[in-house]
Amino acid sequence: MSRTATAAATRSGDARPVRGTLAARKRQRRPLTLGRVLTYAALTLGAVVVLFPVYFGFVGSFMGPADINAYPASLWPFNGFRVENFTGALDSIPLGRQYMNSVVMAGLITLGQIVTSLLAAYALVFLKVRGRVFWFALFLCSMMVPAEAIIIPNYLTMSSAGLINTIPALVLPFLAHGFGIFLLRQAFLSFPVELWEAARIDGAGHMRFLLSVLVPLSKPTLAALGIWSFLSAWNMYFWPLLVTQTPQMQTIQIGITQLRSADNFNAGLVLAGTVLAIIPTLLLVIFGQRFIVRGLTAGSIK
């Protein structure tokens, strides 16, 4: 609502909005000035432009060929809502299965990144690992390598291991990421060293200290990392395109593009597929916006 709220949410990790101060609300009731009118005009124009693809994506998903192909354009399904678009989309591709593939893939990648990052960050911060600076530099450098530059060898590796068209092929290359290690290292650095001393006096080993002390303390960072890696994986396109072959193994992102085949003359059906595919992320953005902000901007604000 107010910027205080945003600041509080981003800084402390509190997802709840803070009510505007009395003074702030008083200011809201100032008379309509020219500047204010212009602000609304600009915002409205922006909203219309930005929301049009969203609107058309939804409304078009109910259109039959007569509406969606109309020239001049038809912006509403005047010839009747065509719910069969949705059943048609579900008949054309195994959408449920592809959803599951996406969930499993993104879930495993997220889990993998959290585990590998926790361990590595712990070694960098709390353990006297030899060549600490070297390892950290290595992890930082790994972030610079664009996945597209190594996609050919990775594809060949999967291909010769006989893993093409399997979940492992989708998941394996992404089980660790320099970003996660970096993020957790920064979080661990902010904890006082006395934490470990106290734990050690209590007789805790490294693993127990990591799991029962550090993990709970790092929840906000872990959540941020989790959201970031889940969404990145969920949205992947190039890699799943290469390593999956059958509709049964494709992720939802690849699946919906397959709806555009020649016989599906009805674009409404294609749009119906996109509607089904974005529902979860759309709900997340509408209702969990504050929650999501931290995860996605984790790289920029800290």
Partner: protein, 312 residues
């Protein structure tokens, strides 16, 4: 990964840390690094080496390395006018997506940073594109851009305007793909900038107000400088992101018409995986070029932030 290239925070605060090396089991500590290192070794460093190796090899019918060819692939690359076209397209795409998506997001962020009624609705509205993956957004834009039956040309007809070959006219295609990309990128940029604005202390604003700064002057001289770290971050990550874009091009234009949307990444795909090509050698040479460019851009960022992040 596709959505956002992560980067280190521009404003990581350096805080004094005591020596944390409290354990002598240095070898055992290495075990904690093993899982991550294993993944990196197999799927990052090994393929990196193999990319470079392949770029010095020819390719047989199946794309298998057919022997050392020296710098032949690179010579071919730099003497191929098609490759220079690819580089121009890549540059064009980067500029056309990064600059507008930051500028528009900045304008919207500043507008949204006011205490006015209904702001919550606008905030949600502008964040919506964020829910769309590259694939879903591209499919929707593909339907809208269709030359014969698309809604955009259908709306131009309301105004008596002629059809535009959004994706079929080389003069338009790159613009159209960029437009779709700006739309996809906008939500994220807005979130980052809004968060940055939110962090601007009320005290600073209040002090400026007392000094007589209002409206646009306040935005320009007080608030915008405080956003520099976020803007810099978006510029760097946006550039890297643009350099890696693939889905929208694959879905919307397949690099055409007349190669007007063939970016470097798309060209790699085309040489390696499309049209029964399997020119893995030639594609790998392009991959090495991509690697160098992205590392160079990242290095700029590291250069700027090195002291803040690295040695603490």
């Amino acid at each position: 990964m596709t959505i956002t290239k992560p980067a280190n925070p521009p404003a990581a605060k350096a805080s004094p840390q005591p020596d944390r090396q409290t354990d002598r089991g240095s070898l055992r500590a290495l075990w904690y690094l093993v899982p991550a290192l294993l993944v990196f070794a197999l799927f990052l460093f090994y393929p990196l080496g193999r990319s470079v190796f392949l770029s010095f090899q020819g390719s047989d019918l199946f794309g298998r390395p057919s022997g050392f060819v020296g710098f032949d692939q690179y010579t071919r690359l730099f003497t191929d006018s098609g490759f220079w076209n690819v580089m121009w397209v890549t540059l064009g795409f980067t500029v056309l997506t990064v600059v507008p998506s930051i500028a528009i997001a900045l304008a919207l962020a500043l507008l949204l940073h006011q205490k006015i009624r209904g702001i919550r609705f606008f905030r949600t509205a502008f964040a919506l594109p964020f829910a769309y993956s590259v694939a879903t957004a591209s499919v929707i834009f593909g339907v809208m851009f269709n030359q014969a039956t698309g809604v955009l040309n259908g709306m131009l007809a309301f105004f008596g305007l002629d059809r535009v070959g959004w994706l079929t006219d080389p003069a338009w295609a790159l613009l159209s793909v960029s437009l779709a990309t700006v739309w996809m990128q906008l939500g994220y940029n807005l979130l980052v900038l809004s968060a940055g604005l939110g962090a601007v202390s009320d005290d600073v604003v209040e002090a400026a107000r007392l000094d007589g700064a209002h409206g646009w002057r306040m935005q320009r001289s007080i608030i915008m400088p405080l956003l520099t770290p976020q803007l810099f971050f978006l510029l760097v990550t946006g550039t890297i992101h643009a350099l890696q874009s693939f889905g929208q091009i694959h879905i919307l234009t397949k690099g055409g018409p007349q190669d007007s949307t063939t970016t470097l990444v798309y060209s790699i795909y085309e040489q390696a995986f499309a049209n029964n090509n399997s020119n893995f050698g030639y594609a790998s040479a392009q991959a090495v070029v991509l690697l160098i460019i992205v590392v160079a851009v990242s290095a700029i960022q590291f250069g700027v932030l090195e002291r803040k992040v690295f040695y603490r």
